[in-house]
Symmetry: C2
Subunit: 272 residues, 2 copies
């Protein structure tokens, strides 16, 4: 870890909930907490890339994770600074050397499953074929249950305001290392990816938990982070399943309390 | 309605669910229906616009509604044909006259709340200021309850496979006129918008129901369709609330069975 080059970043979290007044079915006024939602426009070396709508819990990690998962930046060392300014709803990313081929990479963008961030879809599918996840790691049912229990205690915004998705990165033993909520579930994933870069965490023996559905993009992102275990409270789609089969990821859906459905990568799961 | 010019469209619905085998917490094999998810690339006059990931229930309406809600096309009369070909996962849209300013419109795209379809965000916000919704229409609590009951009977994919969002367009009396499910909630909204075009339905006295969260983009799209009533089973975000206030739309969240929270546009709601 000596001499790791870390970008100069702000720590500009937004207030996560606010309160509005509603009227319920009894005609009563009900103060109701709601989740924040803010536009955040990403600039790389002053070039506008995208505007994300975010809760604003971890905007710097979100920006870094977006660049990582979109394959716009290959290593954290390429980034000199990540500066969030909520007065202008902007995050300015400065690179050490201008990024090559940025125009090409920006050209073909895909909108994915109502939850896309304009992924470079064709390229991602090529990458999937090259992904090899570790086979010498195991997840036991007991560890899964312990993780589900921990997640329940972490969901603060969801409990108070709803309308957010949560993602957690957990150790192989089921301890939650980081937990991010966002109004967009792909934002939450990207923020985890950004934090993993900042904290120099290797995904290859970790568990990724999401409250969101296991769509194609969710599976792709987990696999790209080399994470062999993907757990969701929700269901899955056909393409999520197809890609899980291709990458061999251990994918578990409908995981709530002591229930779950193990879909793929069964060889890494230990029931006993 | 005489002499309405309707585009030449295919009717290429995909099988909506498929079945995979999972293993549950008892070690039992469980055949599990899952929702379809397919890439569908939109071409306008052979120019590639975007790839949407969709369930494939109503791909032609989805393509039309996407163009409508993205403001790439202003009227159905501009469209000559909408041809879906699942062999190539493509929908070819042919216009009667080449669209002006398509390049400009494609330039600035925003990714919204983990569920964006690359909306032209700045332009949309300008439009919001110009929206005026009808004030001479009312929604009663009894009609709301009747609608919630009807929705429950319509959700076929959600009930069997989960992992989809549903949207309904209902008459002022609460009768469901159309119901679309999709793996992306914005796809479901867009398909409704496309169907409204095809069936020449005016939104100004209708109710829009969604299972999804009331984020900024959801409220914008309902208001753009001139619909004065927006109802969701889920919660809302701060920006969804801000935009609802601005447009004066009657917005109801957490609407399940005989519960609801009325947030904005209360003057159109009648409790008695």
């Amino acid at each position: 870890m000596l001499n790791r080059i870390i970008p100069n970043i702000t720590h500009a979290s937004r207030p996560l909930t606010t309160e509005v007044e509603a009227t319920n079915e009894h005609g009563e006024r009900v103060p109701t907490p709601i989740a924040g939602e803010h536009p955040l426009t990403l600039y790389i070396d002053k070039r506008e890339i995208v505007t994300l709508m975010t809760l604003g819990q971890a905007p710097e990690a979100l920006a870094l994770g977006y660049l990582r998962n979109q394959r716009l930046v290959r290593s954290l060392e390429e980034i000199e600074a990540v500066q969030v300014d909520w007065d202008t709803n902007a995050v300015a990313i400065t690179t050490r050397n201008a990024l090559p081929n940025l125009d090409d990479k920006m050209k073909k963008r895909t909108v994915t499953t109502g939850c896309g961030q304009g992924t470079v879809f064709g390229d991602l599918m090529d990458e999937i074929d090259a992904i090899r996840l570790r086979e010498d790691v195991r997840l036991s049912q007991a560890t899964l249950y312990a993780l589900l229990d921990s997640v329940r205690r972490h969901e603060t915004i969801y409990k108070s305001a709803g309308a957010v998705h949560g993602c957690a990165l957990a150790s192989g033993g089921g301890d939650i290392l980081m937990f991010v909520e966002d109004v967009g579930r792909h934002n939450a994933v990207d923020a985890i990816a950004g934090n993993m870069w900042l904290e120099n965490i290797d995904g290859s023996d970790k568990i990724f938990y999401t409250t969101g559905r296991l769509t194609s993009e969710m599976v792709i992102k987990a696999a790209q982070m080399q994470i062999p275990f993907l757990v969701s409270r929700s269901g899955l789609t056909q393409m999520g399943h197809d890609i899980a089969m291709k990458t061999g990821i251990t994918m578990i859906g409908r995981a709530v309390n002591k229930h779950y459905l193990l879909f793929t990568g069964k060889q890494r799961f230990v029931k006993a």
